[in-house]
């Protein structure tokens, strides 16, 4: 029989033990893959906000722990708008508060006059009136979750707002939240004259690299954000998420490795005589090593497969929560699953290296006599 089939059949000899070990490994892999999917989806969703309203790039406060904590002033907005290459610059204040069952309902404060520049496509109703203070636009997802239509009222922080329109931008954060007059949001967030991000649309033909470099040079306190990697550099939360992901991967490898080692040590000990026979009929140490490592890798790949399936199920299940739906759109990318399988192989090698060495070091005659 082919060598691979021999390895596979060896695993089937202890079906329950193989299954339990694979399931044990799969729990770690589920964590790694699910966290990877969520992290990637969160980043991807966050990236959309950098180009909201069809703008070319966003500007935040350099060094802010989290981009939502970025604080910019009206003066800075005016200075950015004054660059000759800038067609228009829009200030946006971002706030989160509990609304219904959603503890992170996103509110975006924007000058009503900027809505047209911001290219917010309306599905129903109209834009905020220029002098409005108590009007609100709801994203399509928020409208659906809250069951509110134009003409209805929404209670936000003990204040009533009249829904005047429903929009759909395709960005999860925007569609899951609301837009209201900048001054109103600044007032109840006690951030008078402040905003979170400045969105910039440059004039046609502008060299965006040169423009962003000049803005950062002129304003070291500002960070321009065009790509996800810009976002990662500025937003400490993203960096923490990556660090957490890495730490959990290492933990999964370590815990999984101990489980696999336990199984493989038992398997090798039970089969000492068998290894002696294989060595006696001429198997090289390398082939015995290949067999033990092959069994371990196959075991872990089965675990990785189960773990990946569980991770997909888990990430579908969490979407039943409105808060999750309003914060991220789940995306499955091959690299997340490749990382899950790479963790599986790392677990296999970590767990099997000691038993494998033990198996190949046996003297054939001692192994054959082993009881």
């Amino acid at each position: 029989m082919p060598f691979f089939v021999l390895i596979f059949r060896n695993l089937l000899r202890q079906r329950i033990r193989t299954l339990l070990t694979a399931v044990g490994i799969s729990i770690g892999i589920t964590t790694v893959v699910a966290l990877g999917v969520v992290t990637h989806s969160f980043k991807s969703t966050a990236k959309d906000i950098l180009h909201a309203g069809g703008t070319d790039f966003a500007i935040g406060q350099a060094g802010s722990a989290d981009l939502s904590f970025s604080t910019l002033t009206q003066e800075q907005l005016d200075e950015i708008a004054a660059y000759p290459e800038v067609d228009h610059a829009i200030g946006l204040l971002m706030a989160f508060s509990k609304l219904g069952s959603n503890p992170y309902f996103v509110q975006l404060g924007i000058e009503p006059a900027d809505l047209e520049h911001f290219e917010v496509p309306l599905l129903e109703g109209r834009y905020l009136a220029p002098d409005a203070t108590d009007e609100i636009l709801l994203g399509q997802e928020a409208s659906s979750q809250l069951g509110k239509r134009p003409g209805d009222t929404v209670e936000l922080k003990d204040r009533s707002f009249t829904v005047v329109g429903i929009y759909h931008t395709g960005d999860v954060w925007e569609d899951g939240g609301a837009m209201l007059p900048l001054a109103t949001l600044q007032e109840y967030e006690r951030k008078s004259g402040l905003m979170t991000l400045i969105y910039v649309k440059a004039k046609a033909g502008t060299d965006l690299d040169a423009l962003t470099a000049r803005i950062e040079e002129d304003h070291p306190e500002l960070a321009t954000l065009r790509t996800l990697s810009d976002y990662n550099e500025v937003d400490q939360g993203m960096q923490m998420m990556d660090a957490l992901n890495l730490a959990i991967s290492f933990l999964a490898v370590f815990i999984g490795g101990i489980g696999v080692m336990n199984t493989m040590v038992m398997s090798v000990t039970e089969r000492t005589r068998e290894f002696g026979i294989l060595r006696a009929v001429g198997w090289r140490q390398r082939r015995v090593l290949q067999m033990v490592l092959g069994e371990s890798i196959l075991l872990c790949l089965i675990g990785a497969l189960i773990g990946s399936i569980l991770a997909v199920i888990f990430t579908r299940v969490i979407l039943i929560f409105p808060v999750v739906r309003s914060l991220l759109a789940i995306e499955y990318t091959p690299d997340v699953f490749i990382r899950g399988f790479a963790v599986g192989v790392a677990v296999a090698l970590l767990g099997a290296i000691y038993p494998a060495i033990r198996a190949v070091r046996l003297s054939p005659i001692q192994a054959i006599r082993y009881e």
Partner: protein, 227 residues
């Protein structure tokens, strides 16, 4: 095959166990000619199995020399190639893997060759037919009789066409009828294939089937016998 050339040359071999407390071989010397059928006999504990295991490179001697077909085993860094290609070993306990079929057991030594899966399977079938077990290829050892298992073990020992066959008490666990069948099979293989056959047995009647009987006592060859 040259019946006058020496296939196995054992010179003054010493082997001890348990840090020198047990003296298994105390200076054994033996020559076996190419194509010869030699039986090593002697009382239990005289070192005959130890000598066979050393010739089979399952272990290394403490001192002395074992030269097989002109090559000193002490100079071989990896003895696996020697065990796979130069000698075939048949044990008292068949030492077949119970979870594999008879055919898969016979194929085990062939993993160390360049043969494809199909070639390995075909060769295993041909070897099983040579030991009259062609129809039991897919049967696991647990469903074979003692004699049949030993015949599968002989087929496995011949897997890579080794010029030397070493049999350690091959009939020791069999009834007389099955034992005779295995002995006849070994003799037939030795004659037809021209292999050198060294058989260890404490049973003088079994040993008498050989061309030459070597007697051992207390870790030494005390009578090299005559052809």
């Amino acid at each position: 095959m040259n019946r006058n050339s020496i296939a196995i040359d054992v010179q003054d071999v010493v082997k001890t166990y348990e840090e020198g407390r047990i003296h298994a071989l105390t200076g054994a010397t033996l020559q076996v000619r190419e194509g010869e059928f030699v039986a090593i006999t002697g009382p239990s504990g005289c070192g005959k199995s130890t000598l066979l295991h050393l010739i089979g490179a399952l272990d290394r001697p403490d001192s002395g020399r074992i030269v097989v077909n002109g090559t000193d085993l002490a100079h071989m860094r990896d003895l696996s190639h020697y065990r796979a290609h130069d000698v075939g070993m048949v044990f008292q306990l068949h030492n077949l893997l119970p979870t594999l079929s008879a055919s898969a057991n016979v194929q085990l030594p062939m993993y160390e060759t360049q043969l494809s899966f199909w070639e390995r399977r075909a060769k295993a079938q041909s070897l099983l037919e040579a030991v009259d077990l062609g129809d039991r290829a897919n049967t696991p050892p647990t469903k074979l009789s003692g004699g049949e298992r030993q015949r599968v073990a002989i087929a496995r020992a011949l897997a890579n066409d080794p010029p030397i066959l070493l049999a350690d008490e091959p009939t020791g666990n069999l009834d007389s009828k099955a034992g005779q069948m295995v002995l006849d099979l070994l003799r037939r293989i030795q004659r037809e294939r021209g292999v050198t056959l060294v058989l260890v047995s404490h049973d003088v009647q079994i040993a008498s089937a050989a061309e030459r009987i070597v007697r051992m006592l207390d870790g030494r060859v005390v009578d090299a016998g005559v052809t």
